[in-house]
């Protein structure tokens, strides 16, 4: 399945958000997720099914003013 992850095309085999994050290397990282512009809480990742062409954003703490 082809997704756009943080603006880049990625091919993944998993179909739920939690498994996709693991497949992409995030593991236990502290991240927040949004699918197609909507926030998906960590508690909902396993039940969140991704489909071809979905836009996934994976954000983490970063420097800010």
């Amino acid at each position: 399945m082809k997704l756009t992850v943080n603006g880049e095309a990625k091919i993944v085999s998993a179909d739920n958000l939690s498994a996709v994050l693991t497949e992409l290397g995030y593991g236990d990282a502290t991240v927040a997720t949004a699918v197609n512009g909507s926030f998906v809480p960590a508690a909902s990742r396993t039940e969140t099914r991704l489909t071809e062409g979905d836009q996934l954003e994976v954000l983490a703490p970063m420097q800010g003013g």
Binding site: G25, A34, F39, V58, G64, G65
Partner: protein
């Protein structure tokens, strides 16, 4: 010491974490500043590099409150979604709400700001809105549930200082019981001291420290200026006057003409 949403913080300095020469200098500057609140942000994370994880561990080690921002957001939806994501990652309901309306000045879109503040407050957030000194907008933000107001001193990153002292003074007088923070545009410690002399509760800055030649020394300098300004406000400064008034007593002066 200031209090925001019932939380007392140890310093009136709120310091940003961006643009430092290195993570080590950022950490040292934070410690030198004595800041009780550090602003942070969210950005895309790579599953390979995972750069945000080290940064977050370092911030946590500093023992300060974190204030996530919605920097770079230009719409209500962007800002609200970013705030939701930040609440989960940083485990705080505080959010520095920025809805940018104009690129040259990074002036807030105050219409979007009020709408986003209302949405977030109803969702349980404690909003620190980055706004202007406009009293009507400030009133709308309070109506929306904000318990803190953060007017700009000058455009973000400009270092121009307090561009509208009249407006800031009017804001302080108009909202005597609301915590007020000058956010953005400060360049040197005297700007921060001047804000505190006006009776502001705190100042928030980043670039002035991070982009100085010696961020650690500059952080300390800001801390001292803020402490001096706050003490001066409490000491009730004299009223300025247009004409000179001799400070040395005239009575008893010898007649030597």
């Amino acid at each position: 010491m200031p209090s925001f949403y019932g939380v007392n913080v140890q310093s009136a300095l709120m310091l940003g974490t961006a643009q430092y020469p290195s993570p080590a200098i950022l950490a040292e500057a934070m410690r030198a500043s004595g800041a009780g609140i550090a602003t942070v942000s969210l950005r895309r994370e790579s599953g390979i590099e995972r750069a945000g994880q080290d940064f977050w561990a370092m911030i946590q080690s500093l023992g300060v409150h974190v204030l996530p921002n919605t920097a770079g957001c230009h719409t209500v939806k962007e800002a609200v979604t970013t705030a939701q994501m930040a609440r989960e990652v940083f485990d705080t309901s505080w959010v520095k709400l920025e809805v940018i309306g104009e690129e040259d000045t990074l002036q807030p879109d105050v219409y979007g700001l009020v709408e986003a503040a209302r949405i977030l407050t109803e969702d349980g957030f404690q909003v620190f809105p980055y706004t202007t000194e406009d009293l009507v907008v400030a009133g709308r933000l309070l109506d929306a549930g904000c318990e803190v107001l953060m007017p700009w001193g000058a455009p973000i990153g400009s270092g121009l200082g307090l561009n509208n002292i009249y407006g800031l003074r009017a804001m302080r007088a108009h909202f005597p019981n609301t915590p007020l923070v000058v956010d953005a545009g400060l360049g040197v410690p005297s700007h921060a001291g001047a804000a505190m002399e006006l009776g502001f509760d705190a100042v928030l800055l980043n670039t002035a420290v991070a982009k100085s030649g010696d961020p650690v020394a500059m952080a300390k300098a800001f801390a001292l200026a803020i402490e001096a300004g706050a003490l001066a406000f409490e000491a009730d400064p004299m009223e300025p006057r247009d004409m000179a008034a001799p400070s040395t007593p005239v009575m008893g002066k010898a007649f030597l003409a």
